[in-house]
């Protein structure tokens, strides 16, 4: 749970989220049990109001630079302003694995 906790803490500190989900989806991929390689993040923050999606994701990647440079292989990101989140209310599911990580081993 170490990386998941670090991601959660960093995002809470930096974005003061109105809503935050950090889901470990590593079990959906071709990695050993207990891995912390694939995550899904749903992040609702005032910081994102008026910003396009690319700069939103770049803000998140910057805050999580250490994790992204390390064990984290994939980060599904769903970023909303509080107003957008009220209108949507849920984030889409992540895709299933096709085994590409095996090429890394």
């Amino acid at each position: 749970m170490k990386i998941q906790t670090a991601i959660t803490q960093k995002l809470e500190q930096h974005f003061s989220p109105a809503h935050l989900e950090v889901v470990n989806e590593s079990h959906m991929h071709s990695v050993p049990p207990g891995s912390e390689s694939h995550f899904k993040v749903v992040l609702v923050s005032e910081n994102f109001a008026g910003l396009r999606q690319v700069p939103r994701h770049q803000q998140v990647y910057k805050v999580l630079a250490d994790e992204m440079a390390g064990e984290v292989h994939a980060l599904a990101l769903h970023t909303y302003s509080p107003e957008e989140w009220q209108a949507t209310g849920m984030a889409p599911d992540s895709p299933q694995c096709l085994g590409g990580s095996k090429a890394d081993q």
């Binding site: 690319v54 994701h57 994939a74 889409p92 694995c97 990580s101």
Partner: protein
């Protein structure tokens, strides 16, 4: 040529270019598959680079782009996004509009 120059040239010379794991016909990652399908459904020609067989690009494009993961879709020299953004744009119709306006018309 320096790898950063190669990347810059690819992005500048291709109006629509997708950096992905595997190819559109044989994607090696669920995120790349979902993204390449969205781009294919727009019905225009596009370039792609398989970063699994181009390790230099895989290492250096994230620095160039300030974007750490793949896939990455670039249109007219600008990063459109990864799987989450492209999928959302596909669902709301923005992707087709963007790609149709950018793609070189078929001859």
């Amino acid at each position: 040529m320096d790898i950063m120059d190669t990347i810059k040239q690819q992005i500048e010379e291709n109006d629509v270019i997708l950096y992905m794991k595997g190819s559109p016909n044989a994607p090696q990652c669920g995120f790349s598959m979902r993204t390449s399908q969205a781009v294919m459904e727009c019905g225009q020609r596009f370039a792609y680079v398989d970063v699994l067989s181009n390790p230099d690009i895989r290492t250096n494009l994230p620095k160039y782009a300030n974007w750490p993961t793949f896939p990455q879709l670039w249109v007219k020299g600008e990063l459109v996004g990864g799987c989450d953004i492209v999928t959302e744009m596909h669902e709301n119709g923005e992707l087709k509009t963007l790609i149709e306006s950018a793609a070189t018309p078929a001859e």
